[in-house]
Amino acid sequence: MSAITRDEVAHLARLSRLALADTELDHYAAQLDVIIGAVARVAEVATDDIPPSSHALPLTNVYRPDEVRRCLTPEQALAAAPAVQDSRFRVPRILGEEA
């Protein structure tokens, strides 16, 4: 039996604001099933004496120099915004009215 249902994939897609076609839902459901299976295998061997790892590469201290680079123009920055006002990103109401 698969670890994730087609409905759950549809729900995840909605949460991620991704519009997926029916064929894509099947496609990703199968892929996610494999991924979840892989994670489950790792979980089986991960016992308390194995420290959790956060990074796959044995690197530290990767920094950039404090230098200014060119930015986007406001037009570029706002190009994909669903709504714009006064050169700012316009977003829906954040909180409802409080008593």
Binding site: L57, P65, P92
Partner: protein, 502 residues
């Protein structure tokens, strides 16, 4: 929700309860570029002009940490006597709010870069040690403006608009341990701590620490416990405290408010409160009774920070003289009393006086002008001393003009007034307003003639040996010249004219 607005007078509140305070301070670092991208950090740019794919969280963009920000944080930690972590990571703080386009803020969680330090502050002649719990590095958020509501607040707004210029600016969070035993000095201790912290940041050169521009922001925690007990009460966290005076007022006000609730048998709600600069009152914000789960986890896009001990020691050896030590040294050099030092510190004039002395002004003069005329003008216009539109170099020029005899104190005050009014440099103001002392002997002589004629009685008294009466005549000359005469020279000439010698 407890909605009582009553307060208990401070003295009564302190007689019954003991405060415990804590401070969380955010300092925006003065790096050239943002924490994880190359966008500039300068204040006041048009909206969304300092943004790029990284700080806008466009798909595929990856952050890289700014080395100067890491270095500055370690220097702050060292200056606060902290232990520097040998290995630590950034963490994602997940929350759903549009001030961060990623839907998370890159911060540090259980592995802060610096831990367990302290900062000593002086209050009322005694030293209070404020223990530092942690210093960590994170990124600032964007700025939201709430539209359509009556108050401009998030509650009741129809929608919001967001500028991400500030999103991603390196932000250092400095958290104290709870401070006990400050008793009725709690408000002053809180203020002294933030003042000292600001001095420290300035001396390290890591931030411009301008509270009014938000590059230093302070959250104030206060709880009360009944006298004779030892268990801490529930604390509130007051945000939005944006001046040193407000830090003091916020603690004071919160003690009075909580005491009234507790005295009526009520309970304090663990919540965020908002400070209002205009009234000094706080209003309730988000309740923290149900802890928000930020689902912190190690940031996979950034590699761990592992400062080598050699680097940390190098940074430690290069730390500047601590502000307290510097103040003591300068106090000795300037020969200033403890009281005058405290007055300068309270007026936030110390750095200005120091810069003016560096510009070549004798310490006594530098202090006199900043604590006198300039403090008075700042007070009148309701601005901070440091924000007066005058530089230490300009004051040095005015003082030099007085020393050379070209100006007296009264004229010097008018020159300062002109500089503050934007009329140009001290020399330009002197020229435009015609403020030079009348040293032309011919002009002075004719003024003296007029004054002697108009004050024949006083002139006679002086002639008959009552030299004290000359004061009135000199005063007349000063008045007739509208303050521009050299009073000492006028006195000499009057006595000479009247054939009297001292």
């Amino acid at each position: 929700m407890t909605t009582t607005n009553t307060v208990m007078p401070y003295d009564e509140a302190l007689a019954r309860f003991e405060p415990v305070i804590g401070l969380e301070t955010h300092v925006e670092l003065g790096t050239a570029s943002k924490m994880f991208c190359g966008c500039p950090t300068s204040f006041g740019a048009p909206p969304n002009t300092h943004v790029c794919p990284v700080c806008l969280a466009l798909p595929g963009a990856l952050p890289v940490a700014n080395d100067k920000a890491i270095e500055s944080t370690i220097r702050i930690g060292l200056a606060l006597n902290c232990t520097i972590a040998e290995w630590c990571r950034f963490a994602r703080k997940n929350y759903f709010y549009p001030d961060m386009p990623k839907n998370y803020q890159i911060s540090q969680y259980d592995e802060p870069l610096c831990t367990n330090g302290y900062l000593d502050v002086e209050v009322d002649g005694r030293t209070v040690r404020i223990e530092i719990e942690r210093v960590h590095l994170e990124e600032d958020t964007g700025k939201s403006t709430h539209m359509g509501g009556a108050t401009g607040r998030i509650q009741g707004a129809d929608y919001s608009i967001v500028d991400y210029n500030r999103a991603g600016i390196p932000l250092v969070e400095i958290v104290t341990k709870p401070v006990e035993g400050t008793d009725r000095l709690a408000p002053e201790v809180a203020k002294a701590y933030v003042t000292e912290l600001r001095e420290l940041m300035r001396s390290l050169g890591v931030s411009d620490v301008r509270m009014e521009e938000g590059s230093l922001r302070c959250d104030v925690n206060v709880s009360l416990m009944p006298r004779g007990t030892t268990a801490w009460g529930t604390r509130t966290e007051t945000k939005n405290v944006n001046s040193l005076r407000s830090v003091e007022r916020a603690v004071h006000g919160e003690i009075e408010r909580q005491a009234a609730i507790l005295a009526e048998g009520g309970r304090i709600i663990q919540e965020t409160r908002h400070f209002h600069e205009d009234t000094g009152a706080t209003t309730p914000g988000r309740s923290k009774e149900e802890a928000q789960d930020y689902r912190y986890f190690p940031e996979p896009d950034l590699l761990p920070i592992a400062p080598t001990p050699e680097w940390v020691e190098e940074l430690r050896s290069e730390l500047p003289e601590p502000p307290t030590v510097r103040r003591r040294r300068l106090q000795a050099e300037w020969g200033v009393s403890d009281l005058d030092m405290a007055a300068m510190h309270n007026a936030d004039a110390f750095t200005l006086v120091e810069a003016t002395v560096t510009a070549g002004v004798p310490a006594a003069d530098a202090r006199k002008w900043w604590m006198g005329e300039l403090a008075r003008r700042a007070n009148e216009s309701g601005t901070a001393l440091a924000d007066l539109p005058i530089t230490p170099e300009q004051i040095a020029r005015v003082v030099a003009l007085v020393a050379s005899g070209a100006l007296n104190d009264k004229l010097a005050r008018q020159v300062l007034e002109g500089v503050l009014a934007g009329e140009g440099s001290p020399d330009e103001v002197v020229e435009a307003r015609g403020l030079r002392i009348v040293s032309d002997e011919g002009e002075l002589s004719s003024i003296i003639d007029q004054v002697l004629t108009a004050n024949a009685d006083a002139a006679d008294k002086v002639r008959s040996g009552k030299i004290a009466a000359v004061g009135a005549l000199v005063g007349g000359v000063m008045k007739a010249s509208r303050g521009k005469a050299d009073a000492g020279r006028a006195r000499e000439l009057i006595l000479e004219r009247l054939g009297v010698s001292e």
